[in-house]
């Protein structure tokens, strides 16, 4: 419930920020640079006099968008690879699983660094890079489900009645493997948000002047002695978001996947 409440608040703030923020996140005011929290700027201002609260709110929508797209890519590719591997078995399974081992040899940050090194850094590339890094976990999960269900009586019965491979996969097996995949998606979502913040901190994700929590922390580092509040609020936003989503994911796991409890 705690996780759900925090997550709901976050989603509400992100949705609201698309239509309204207290000030324009990009509006500069050189006379109000690096101010601590005040009534007019509850989170203070940055080195260009921009309102940190507005930038934190605007950054939430970017973080959520990256998280959603990255996880969607991971689920899509992971389900495809896992279903082919688990259904057909044999050399297809061996080959795909060795490929998954190879991808898993890259921690998310390394694969993201590699991909953004080749293509220009940006939000889209970071979504793809993070999504690709998560494919192995979804592939293994769905493969495990397919291996277990492939030999079940209801599948064999459908096969005996003449169901095609496509029908067996789409109609009978895949729907029954989705519960743990959904749980994994909810636990991967906050990790994707962390990864986006990390990439933006390194300059490989969201590019300035667009607001991103990681990018704000990178900029704040230069002014720690002058205005430490600048570094506190974006980091707290990341921590609170990830905490809420992790708690929500734990709760969903208890609900949807009792075997994992």
């Amino acid at each position: 419930m705690v996780g759900g409440s925090i997550s709901a608040l976050l989603l509400l703030a992100a949705a609201l920020s698309l239509a309204y923020t207290p000030r324009d996140p990009l509006e500069m005011s050189i006379g109000e640079r690096l101010r601590p929290p005040t009534w007019t700027h509850p989170f203070g201002t940055d080195q260009y006099g921009r309102d940190v609260l507005s930038r934190v709110l605007a950054g939430s929508s970017i973080s959520i968008l990256v998280g959603v797209i990255a996880v969607t890519i991971a689920v899509g590719l992971g389900l495809l690879i896992g279903s082919l591997s688990g259904y057909w078995g044999g050399w297809i399974d061996e080959g795909l699983m060795r490929l998954i081992d190879a991808i898993q040899g890259f921690p998310a940050i390394l694969s993201a660094v590699l991909i953004t090194a080749v293509f220009r850094p940006g939000v889209v590339i970071s979504m793809i890079a993070i999504g690709v890094a998560f494919v192995p976990s979804f592939a293994r999960l769905s493969r495990g489900g397919f291996l277990e269900l492939r030999q079940r009586e209801f599948v064999l019965a459908a096969q005996a009645l003449g169901a095609t491979d496509r029908r067996l996969i789409a109609r009978h097996i895949l729907p029954n493997t989705l519960a743990p995949v959904i749980v994994q998606a909810t636990t991967s979502f906050p990790v994707a948000i962390l990864a986006e913040a990390g990439l933006s901190y390194l300059g490989l994700g969201t590019q300035p002047p667009n607001p991103s929590w990681g990018l704000m922390l990178k900029e704040a580092q230069n002014f720690l002695a002058v205005n430490p509040w600048y570094a506190i609020f974006p980091g707290a936003a990341i921590a609170l978001t990830v905490l809420g989503l992790n708690l929500l994911g734990d709760g969903l796991r208890d609900l949807l996947d009792p075997k994992a409890v």
């Binding site: 040899g105 080749v118 913040a197």
Partner: protein
């Protein structure tokens, strides 16, 4: 164990081959023309053609891959475009920072996580357990680079006990280097310890419910001996898995922390190479780090056989 080792080595070789293929495809094939990627808008056709010939890009792809792989197997990862020195020597020079940082973080992580995990398990469903699990939840949530900034704020800016960044080197003994790496190692360890804490708690709880543990207590064995000699030894298998995985994660996580603390390690090497479009360095570092992680995971599998005779017999 006799059958496990060759099988594991064969899987390792295949995985490393696929890792190298993936890196080659991402760096050489996907962007189209790496020479154009390197030169960008400054490249006139003659300059691009000259660079393509210098880098061997005018040869067939399979020949390029075989040549690159063959040289990599002989520890020749090419030459840095930016520094005009072998990539291997660049990596070697940076290992003097990244390896100690990773090991220090691993030691701190192990001490914190094993202590907290065992503590939580022995106080299951009591206040101590809830506090430990809350701390581990916070560990999952707090990003390492933010933690690094907070540590700089407290220990460097406010208390002025430690420097905010930089590396003093090992030439004057171990202590200047250890002092430089203390804050980044702490940030890295605290970020990773949450997973190991939960795994330790879970594994110890499972083993503590076994009959032989109850028998040991009934025989009057001291609780400390029950815990550390009987319980923890048999709880180690899942814990070893997590440790092995997290060693690789620590090394990858050091990429970000080196940027926070301005440490001249492998992380800053690869980030500088990205900015300079020095693709041989990016490629070489990616292959090196991925190889270390794959080998670590394989070593974890082999350690299973040492810890659990049932796996050896299988």
């Amino acid at each position: 164990m006799r059958r496990l080792l060759p099988r594991r080595l064969a899987t390792l070789a295949v995985t490393l081959f696929l890792v190298s293929l993936l890196i080659f495809i991402v760096v050489r094939v996907l962007p189209g023309d790496p020479a154009l990627v390197i030169l960008g808008t400054e490249g006139n056709p003659e300059a691009v053609a000259r660079l393509r010939h210098t880098l061997g890009l005018d040869r067939p792809l399979l020949v390029q891959y075989a040549d690159w792989l063959g040289r990599a197997a002989r520890a020749d990862l090419g030459r840095s475009i930016q520094y005009d020195v072998p990539v291997v020597s660049l990596i070697q020079s940076r290992l003097a920072v990244t390896v100690p940082l990773t090991l220090m973080a691993a030691a701190l992580m192990l001490v914190a996580a094993l202590t907290l995990g065992v503590f939580a398990a022995t106080r299951h469903r009591r206040l101590g357990d809830y506090v430990a699990m809350t701390l581990s939840q916070l560990g999952f949530a707090v990003p390492s680079f933010w933690l690094g900034l907070l540590l700089i704020l407290v220990f460097s800016v406010k208390l002025q006990w430690l420097r905010a960044g930089g590396f003093d080197g090992w030439q004057d003994g171990p202590w200047p280097g250890i002092r430089s790496l203390l804050l980044p190692a702490l940030a890295l360890a605290l970020f990773q310890f949450a997973g190991l804490t939960r795994a330790t708690r879970s594994a110890v709880l499972d083993v503590m419910r076994d009959d032989y543990v109850r028998t040991a207590r009934a025989k009057g064995v001291r609780e400390g001996v029950v815990l550390w000699k009987h319980t923890l030894r048999n709880a180690m298998i899942p814990i070893v898995t997590i440790i092995g995985i997290q060693l690789g994660q620590l090394m990858a996580g050091s990429i970000v922390l080196e940027s926070v603390f301005s440490l001249p390690g492998i992380g800053r090497l690869v980030l500088g190479a990205i900015t300079a479009r020095d693709l041989p360095v990016v490629q070489g570092v990616a292959l090196f780090v991925a190889t270390v992680i794959v080998v670590l995971n394989a070593a974890v599998d082999l350690v299973y056989g040492v810890l659990d005779p049932r796996i050896r017999r299988e």
